[in-house]
Amino acid sequence: MSYTDEHRPMMTVDGTPLKKSLAIALRRQKIRALLLISPLLIFVLFTLALIFASMLFRSVENDIVSEILPETVVALSSWDAQSGELPDETVYSAFAGDIQRAAKAKDHTRVGLRLNYEKSGMASLFKKTARKAKKWDLEADAPFKNKLIETHKGWADIAVWQTLKTHSSLYTSGYFLNSIDMRKTVSGPEYQPEDRQILVTLFKRTLIISLVITMSCILLAYPVAWLLANLPMRQANLLMILVLLPFWTSLLVRTSAWKVMLQQQGVINDLLVALGMIEETGRLALINNQLGTVIAMTHILLPFMILPMYSVMQSISPTYLRAAKSLGATNWTAFWRIYFPQSVPGIGAGSILVFILSIGYYITPEIVGGNKGVFISNRIAYHIFQSMNWGLAAALGTILLVAVLILYWAYDKIVGIDNVKLGG
């Protein structure tokens, strides 16, 4: 370190100011780091961000009605849906033109399907009407009010026009209302009829069962992780393999294995009967209910709890415990006051992992859950693959995502996210 003039900046050998030269080096390093992570960054941006964005968009998007039936939507805007009277001829003739164009472009079923989510029978109403509409002459066959009603009596049903009007906006809150067992009507949001309410129940059930699974994972994983961290290397390795072995086995295989274990003619029931602990007629129902879901999923998610706990416990120095004991603490006090608080970050990390994985599960609940042990994800899968109601599936997915974020935030407030560790 040589003496420098306070008014002159420090120079490097080649004469550039040191500050500048350092800045260049730092920038180069940053660019290199950015380039190195760019594949990952682009991947994450494209897959995660785009998918989230498109999911959010789909859950409110509703341009299909005004795109396929543009003139009807305009004509309907001047009709008072609560007047109790059918729309007038302008609406009917606008609709006749729209449905004819849609039928020729084969668009009519798409809009029919969309409206069928709101009112059963709309799909066939559109299908049957479009078949006849292809042959109409828009000039000569007017007026259309009676003609449409002759074609299908559905066009004399005021509820059909109300549905059309209610769901003709470009963006809709309808899917989100459906997600919480409500629906959009002319007179504002209403609850679904009681015999169709199911989604709120499923959301609640998903959260409660996931919490139970997380708790049972904590209880089972804690002693195992403690053993792993404290046994001599050789035994610990063997135990580790036992923990990881099921982890490497296919999810479906493990779930099916649980089926064989838990069913009424299964291994556990057979064993209990053989030992005389239960009667032949009183075999236990361990599967096809919530208990089945909890047992199978606890087993499947257990490694996600054990591994973070283990890596945290491994870094807890045994000297603290020894110090506590030498100062007169009992075994329990030493554990509860000294060891346990240090292992909390592992529990936190494991719980977050297990809980978040668990609320998104659907294969295991589908196979072992019976009718009371299925999750909201099973409904999402149903709406994507079976009913094709992607808007509702997107809304349900969005709600699930928001629920996770809220829980994450609550966890941060209560426990503190800095207090989560995946490793020492």
């Binding site: 059963s120 069913q263 003619q265």
Partner: protein
């Protein structure tokens, strides 16, 4: 140097793949024993005749959403798709499946009968090329039904004579029909009644009487497994699964033909194929649905051919050597009390009834 080599090798490979593409087609089906029957009866002879390699894709279960997504993305990778009648009608209505002129595009029967007459009522949509008839039916454990084995579909609801668990499909389809049928509703009135809230409630009330005795299945393999383990006394599934359980695995199980609900399976050709690929797909379909090929398929699986002319050619099972005709859902002896699933009805009411059914299940 090494890098350049890799680049050249990759380029050469993709060029080769591009050339090979002309002689390849992707056929989508269900997998398992069903795909095997198609492989033996259709794909192998077709490849032998034409040299076209057939790639089997097993995602028929999600054909509708995938074809939709492919249309949105503008990248169609499938040439021929095996779907049930309901999804075929939906794809046709949405313009995702190509309309077929059955008489012109499909082979005549050997005696010159036009394809549309040979297939008859099984052509349920302009885009649908019928292949097989299968049915939802019920199997039961011989050793768990006492001395009076069931003869009627309504044994499902008779928990006094046949105590024990029964497995039913976790969904409205098939269960709602059987519930009304066994509640004394005439067959012709079932679907009109299911259109009304009162009819739906009546069906659910009937199902309520056995709700605690039911294990609900979601995969076709569930009921055979539950029957084999003695976990249920009876259960519904597809007739081909029961055939495999009884004849191939020799389990102490018998099956009912009473009250079976027919469903159809067939081909569709997606719209938007290039002219060459479309010609290839049509060529394949013409071959695969001729009288002999449809009859050949029944030598591998107990699903009935949809051509009247094929029914006469149904032979023995290719590996078991047993006569297949009595195992066909369409055999006259088996079809005294049956009905065909009403696809148009389910297209309209599936969402509504299914949400009601699921809400009822969750209670």
């Amino acid at each position: 140097m090494k890098f350049t080599k890799t680049v050249f090798a990759t380029a050469a490979l993709s060029l080769f793949a591009g050339l090979a593409l002309a002689e390849e087609m992707t056929i989508v089906s269900w997998g398992g024993a069903y795909s095997k029957s198609q492989l033996k009866a259709y794909h192998e002879p077709y490849t032998a005749n034409t040299g076209v390699t057939i790639i089997n894709d097993e995602s028929a279960g999600t054909a509708v959403p995938k074809l939709r997504a492919m249309k949105e993305a503008g990248n169609l990778t499938w040439d021929v798709v095996d779907v049930e009648a309901g999804p075929a009608m939906q794809l046709c209505d949405e313009g995702l499946a190509m309309e077929i002129d059955h008489d012109f595009m499909l082979a005549d029967a050997p005696d010159g009968t036009l394809a549309s007459n040979d297939f008859g009522d099984f052509i349920v949509s302009d885009c649908f090329i019928p292949q097989i008839v299968y049915s939802y039916t019920v199997g039961y454990r011989n050793d768990m039904v006492g001395s009076t084995p069931p003869t009627s579909i309504c044994a499902i609801f008779d928990t006094e004579t046949y105590p024990g668990k029964r497995s039913l499909k976790k969904g409205a389809l098939s269960n709602m029909e059987w519930a009304l049928l066994c509640d004394g509703v005439a067959k012709a009135d079932i679907y009109p009644m299911l259109e009304t809230a009162a009819g739906q409630d009546q069906a659910l009330a009937k199902l309520d009487t056995i709700k605690d005795d039911v294990i609900w299945w979601s995969a076709g393999a569930d009921t055979p497994q539950l029957l084999a383990d003695g976990e249920v006394v009876m259960g519904s599934t597809f007739n081909g699964r029961l055939f495999a359980l009884i004849e191939e695995q020799n389990q102490p199980v018998s099956m009912l033909w009473d009250g079976q609900i027919y469903d159809l399976d067939g081909w569709i050709i997606p719209t938007g194929l290039s002219p060459e690929r479309q010609a290839r797909a049509l060529h394949y379909v013409r071959f695969a649905t001729d009288t002999q090929r449809l009859a050949d398929q029944s030598r591998w699986i107990s699903y009935g051919p949809t051509r009247a002319s094929s029914a006469l050619l149904v032979d023995k099972h290719a590996e078991l050597g047993i006569d297949m005709a009595p195992h066909m859902p369409t055999d006259p002896a088996n079809s005294t009390n049956t009905f065909l699933m009403n696809y148009a009805f389910w297209a309209d009411y599936k969402d509504d009834i299914e949400s009601k059914f699921q809400a009822w299940l969750a209670k």
